[in-house]
Each structure stands twice: as structure tokens, then as C-alpha cells.
Assembly symmetry: C3
């Protein structure tokens, strides 16, 4: 049987949407499906390594932007009912009660499962993010590479 392939574009930086994307990605890996994730715009926040500092030579706007945006999976907020974190904490407790892993664990799972992680080059340039601030093994690619991968996949989602 021909190998199936899916492509997920994560534009959103919301905890709940990133969770949905990674549950789909890991589910697909379990089925032997090849998965590419393309992180653009707010989705890039998920790839920031909270332990790593950005380059020194950021512009003022880039520094402000870095400081104001989430750094890694656990800092993301909900797309709805976040209530300054209250709603998110409630969701996390409910996930714990059901022994469902948190976002960071799904992210690590996806990496171990061999999901191809790609970051949007243009988004990184505009927001002033450098590869050295991101988690490891992320390919920085252009929209052309995204399109080539996505168009020949069996399924594409914009999340």
C-alpha cells in the first residue's frame, strides 16, 4: 500500500489549537502516516525553547515582541475562555484527571515519532526570531517548500 502523507500548517499560537494539531499529528504517526508540520506566525511560539536566549542584535521592536509573546508550549493560552489563565488551568486539571498528557508532552511525542518540523522563514524574519532560539531539529523553509509538500499530501489543514 502506498504510504499516506499529511501536512498541517499551524498558524495559531493557541494552546487548544496546538493541542488539536499535535493530537492529529501523533495519531497519524501511529497509523504509519508521514507528517509535516509547518509553523508560521503565532504558531512559531510553540517552537521557542524557553531555555534559549535570542541573539543580542535584535531591534527594539523585535525585543518587545519577543518579551510579549509566549515562549514554548506551556506558555500558550486558550483561544476561548482563557480568563487570564483560569480557564486554561481548569482545562489542565481536567486533562490531568483523565491522564491526558499536556501540550509539551505531545510536542515531544511528535518529535520522537518522526514528524517533520518546519518553521516559516518569512515569519521568522519579520518577528526577528533566530534558529538558535528554537528547539532543535527544526527546518527553516520558504512558502514554496511548504506548498510543494502540502500539494502532494493526502490531506492539508490550516490550524
Amino acid at each position: 500500500m502506498e504510504e499516506k502523507q499529511i501536512n498541517l500548517l499551524l498558524f495559531s499560537g493557541d494552546y487548544d489549537k496546538a493541542l488539536a494539531a499535535l493530537i492529529i499529528a501523533n495519531g497519524a504517526c501511529d497509523l504509519g502516516v508521514k507528517v509535516t508540520m509547518f509553523f508560521s506566525f503565532w504558531g512559531l511560539m510553540l517552537l521557542r525553547d524557553p531555555e534559549k536566549m535570542g541573539p543580542e542584535d535584535k531591534s527594539l521592536y523585535e525585543k518587545m515582541f519577543s518579551a510579549m509573546t509566549p515562549r514554548g508550549p506551556e506558555q500558550l493560552t486558550l483561544s476561548k475562555m482563557n480568563f487570564s489563565g483560569l480557564g486554561k488551568n481548569m482545562l489542565l486539571k481536567m486533562m490531568d484527571d483523565n491522564k491526558a498528557p499536556h501540550l509539551g508532552e505531545f510536542l515531544n511525542g511528535a518529535r520522537k515519532n518522526g514528524v517533520r518540523f518546519c518553521a516559516c522563514k518569512l515569519s521568522m524574519e519579520i518577528m526577528g526570531f533566530a534558529s538558535e532560539e528554537l528547539i532543535e531539529n527544526v527546518e527553516v523553509i520558504e512558502v514554496y517548500d511548504y506548498l510543494k509538500d502540502a500539494m502532494q499530501a493526502d490531506m492539508q489543514l490550516f490550524i
Copy 2:
């Protein structure tokens, strides 16, 4: 001619996005296309039956969550310009002026048209929703079943 098939993942619990999803679903049915809708996360709110009570044994968080989230199509709010309901009422009036059906009618139409309704098992477990709280004829499925259906469809959307 081979039968076409589409798969719509409704993640959002916004009135306007659910409306878009159901207009596409009903339009596809009119064209003889087979439609699967997979409701996950906030999208589950659309499937709650306002007449049915949840099970007694919900946890405190699950009870709070049930109480704070919309119950059925007409309680959903707009993704933009909701203004505590004012914007939504304005939209509903404009829909009435154009004799466009409301969300609940589109939902019933989709069910009569034979759209396959599926709810995400993991989302239901985390949020503490039971099948008995939902409208009838909803299949509760896992992400694997979603993927198998979606990957062989002619079109997939994440809404």
C-alpha cells in the same frame, strides 16, 4: 462518476464558523457528495442537546465547564463583534431579513441530509461530556477513525 466525499473538522464553537461549516455541508449534500463532520473541542458545544441533562457523577471542574459553555447551536456566540450578544442579534436580524435559516435549522438540515456526525472521544472525556447529553445519532470516534475518513476524502477543512 465516482462519488465525492468531504470531511469537515469543527474545532470552533463560534456561531459564525459553525454556520459556515454547515452551509458547506448542506451544499455538498445537495451536490450528492458524502459528508463527514468531526466535532472536537469547542465544536462539541454544537452537539449538546439543551433539553438533556449530563450525568450526575461529573467532577466539580466538569460541572463548572458544563455550566460555563454553550448548550446547543443557538447559544453559540460570534467569533468577532459579538458585543455580549448585540452583534449576534444584529446578524440574526439580517439573516431573518434575507430569509436565511438560523444555525439550528442548518444543523437539522444536515442531519436530515444524511451528514455523518462524529464527536471526538478524547475531547468528550477531557471535558466530561457523556453521549447522553448530545443530540441523537452522533458516533463517538477516535482520532484514528477521523484520520482514516479524512485522508481518503476529496477535501478536508479544519474550521
Copy 3:
């Protein structure tokens, strides 16, 4: 080689999401891919010509709605961190620093590149928008026409 084709449904009226959609559309054109964009709901705001007035015979609700919603690409706001325009201005400055064009330029680029622009007939009727308020060369089509185009494309996104 067979010509590839993609279909982008722009439901959102957010500056950042519209930017993502148009970057994908223009990238696809560069690769020789045929692109259809279908603007529905809030996405219609992008097609409004700021220079053109709407018809005189709008209902009160339609007039209010016209006045309260963005008129053309540059009036759109961010989906996140808009902060009454502060966040958007910051993003625009960062785009300028990187010599990245603004949304309006991407829109004009897409039109010059031959992207097919379609507006959702039902959305226009409900919101009370007339073709004469929109930029030129926009086809007003029904959901059936959208579906026919999208189902035979190599990739479909809901943005």
C-alpha cells in the same frame, strides 16, 4: 506535468490571517499553480473598496454593519495582540524593517498574478454588501461553485 490547483477559503477578516492566505496564494502563483480564493463572511471585508460607497437602499442593520466593519485590507486588525492597533503598528514596523510588503500590496500582487477572486453570494446578501462596493474583477458565486472548484483542487484550506 499536470497543472496543480489550490483553493483557499478566507472566512477570517484578521490582518494576519489574510496575510498568510495571500502569501500562500502568491507563492503558489510563482510555482505555476492555479489559485482560487473564496471570500466568505468576515473575509469579505478584504474585498471592500475604501473609495466606493455602498448602495443607498441598505437597511438600518446593513448600514450599521457597513459602518462598524473594516473597509479594505489596511483596516483589518490582528487576530491576537492587536491592542487597539498598537500591536498591529508594531507588526507593520517590523514588516517595513524587513522590506516585507503590506497586505494591500500582497492583494494587488495576487490580482496581477491571476488569482481567481470569488465572493460568497450568501454572505454578501446577509451582510448587505453589493458588488459595486467591492474591488473590481470579483466573481460572486454560490457555495456549490465553491465546492466544485475546491473538491477537484490538490489542496484546500479554511483560513
